[in-house]
């Protein structure tokens, strides 16, 4: 299996705090990888470094063999790196159809066309509609996003990320805060993601993690604590200790 995404000695400091501590990590293509760790372990910071929302203090991020450390969020996205956010980042005043179409337009370089009316590229619109239908949002694609139930908004968050046809998808707590009844829907969507998309999932919910991920990394205090397969991690006493809130054991 080839590696799609890797980091080398990645460091992020905020003032005196080291949020990401010398992380060297690689993601094979087609991976179903979960990133876990206690609160404040630096999971979201790590994803922000990968997606370029935050600049790294030092170290490298490599996508498909290319050093993308200095790239903007936008360029990374166009290179096939998509993400969702822990806190919804949607367009509250638009509809799901438009939200997804925006991403497809960017992917297809159709967003600078200013004269043809919105909807005249019916191929792109149909693609957006199909994607929404696949994610069970088809019925409500003309509603105002801001007035939709939270669970559906989380789904839309994933739909928008998928619209750019990513090679690597970073899901930051996709089910966070979703009420029990709507949770299954999101899990189904995540489970049904196509194989060629490599996935990194950040999650607190161990049920979800173990059901979905084949491999895991545990972050503690910004550093990689342990890596391994689902079973290895599940049986690792150190991980248990971390999750039971015991004194943190320093890495190495």
């Amino acid at each position: 299996m080839s590696v799609v995404l890797e980091t080398k000695n990645l460091v992020k400091r905020f003032g005196g705090i080291t949020a990401t501590d010398n992380v060297t990590f690689s993601l094979p293509s087609g991976a179903r990888h979960a990133l876990i760790g206690p609160n404040g372990a630096g999971k979201t910071t790590f994803v922000n470094l990968l997606s370029g929302v935050l600049p790294a203090t030092s170290g490298k991020v490599i996508l498909n063999g290319e050093d993308i450390t200095e790239w903007t969020v936008r360029d990374r996205s166009r290179a096939g790196l998509a993400r969702t956010f822990q806190i919804n980042q949607l367009y509250p005043d638009l509809t799901p159809l438009k939200s997804v179409l925006i991403a497809i337009n960017e992917r297809e370089n159709a967003a600078t066309s200013w004269f043809p009316r919105l909807g005249s590229r019916s191929d792109l619109v149909d693609e957006a509609a199909a994607l929404l239908t696949r994610l069970n949002l088809g019925e409500r694609m003309h509603e105002r996003v801001g007035s939709m139930p939270y669970g559906l908004q989380r789904l839309l968050e994933i739909a928008i990320a998928l619209a750019s046809k990513p090679k690597v998808l970073l899901l930051d707590e996709p089910a966070a805060g979703v009420p029990e009844g709507e949770r299954e829907q999101i899990l189904d969507v995540v489970a049904a993601l196509p194989d060629h998309v490599s996935l990194i999932l950040i999650e607190h919910d161990m049920d979800l993690v173990f059901r979905f991920a084949k491999t895991l990394s545990v972050l503690v205090n910004g550093a990689l604590f342990v890596e391994g397969t689902r079973d290895e991690i599940a049986n690792d006493p150190r991980v248990r200790q971390v999750y039971l809130g015991e004194e943190v054991i320093a890495h190495g």
Binding site: P116, L118, H142
Partner: protein, 360 residues
Amino acid sequence: MSVVDKDAAAPAAASASPAAPAAKQSPSWRLLLDAKWRWYEFAFWLCAAASFWVFPRKLMLLSEIFILGLLALSIDLVLGFAGLVTLGQGAFFGIGAYAAGLMAQAGMGAAPLSDPLLGLLVAGLVAGLVGFATSFLVLRGSDLTRLMVTLGVALIVEELIVKFKDITGGSDGLQGVLSSPVLGLWSFDLFGYTAFWYSLTVTFVIFLFCRRLIHSNYGLSLLAIKGNPLRARTIGMPVNARLVSIYTIAAAIAGVSGGLLTQTTQFASPDMAAFHRSADALLILIFGGAGYLYGGLLGAVAFRVMQDFLGNITPQYWLFYVGLVLVLLVLFVRGGIIGLMMAMRDKISPRDDKDAGGRQ
């Protein structure tokens, strides 16, 4: 805009545009509906044209309203659709005013140099260039930062106009700005006939352009930036480039409106770039309702008519009542005049989706 979505949701929605290959009820068809002309839009422009016969004594005021509305429309493009606040649109207005004025002056009132349409083109180009050059200043910072940076640019432009006396006439303004007849046929007359039709036509044409712009994929991407710039970036949108482009377009439009004012009033003065010009235009836009394209025009109509009406009753204290109206409007209405109209419509025929107002 979702304002329009609501209409599309109505069962009575009209048939699809024949130009569209999309089947009825398909998602594309629904999107194409956004750009459909509504009856109230026709009504608005018909009223605008009819005002020529209804208020023959107020033609100069009406021309001024169109020009001001155009300026407010240019702010609407950046504020209402891309979410950038600016308090410096007067800079481009002033630059356009002087560009058109200098052109006309150079031609001594004769074509080709003094041709008004050529003057507008130059006004738009020059203002657009300056807009492009200064657009990089508005990409960072908070609303307050943007307000102050754009205001700063406008103040500097005004100072420059005053300083370069040899070209601009300094604080006395630029006189002797005579344009040749529009299209070689209609010269600017004392009654304001030409000024009226000229301003209305130019405003309408530019409005059509803006409307098209907004109802395109490009326009949708602007709404994305306004709605959530972080999200727009993470799906691969070149947000800064998009903002630069719309800021430049808006600057050019402001320049054209400035050029219109110079041509219809036959002079230019530094206060065309002054703070109050930018502030008035922004005020008028918020007053009318930002993010609907019509807010600036409606706001201009309402504001100027109110000012003219009150000013004739109490020339010294009209400002008090204008202030009162603003305060009441903010207290009791969301989204300016258009917000008020939509609230009234919802009251008459309530819809399920109450919050679909397109404003921020």
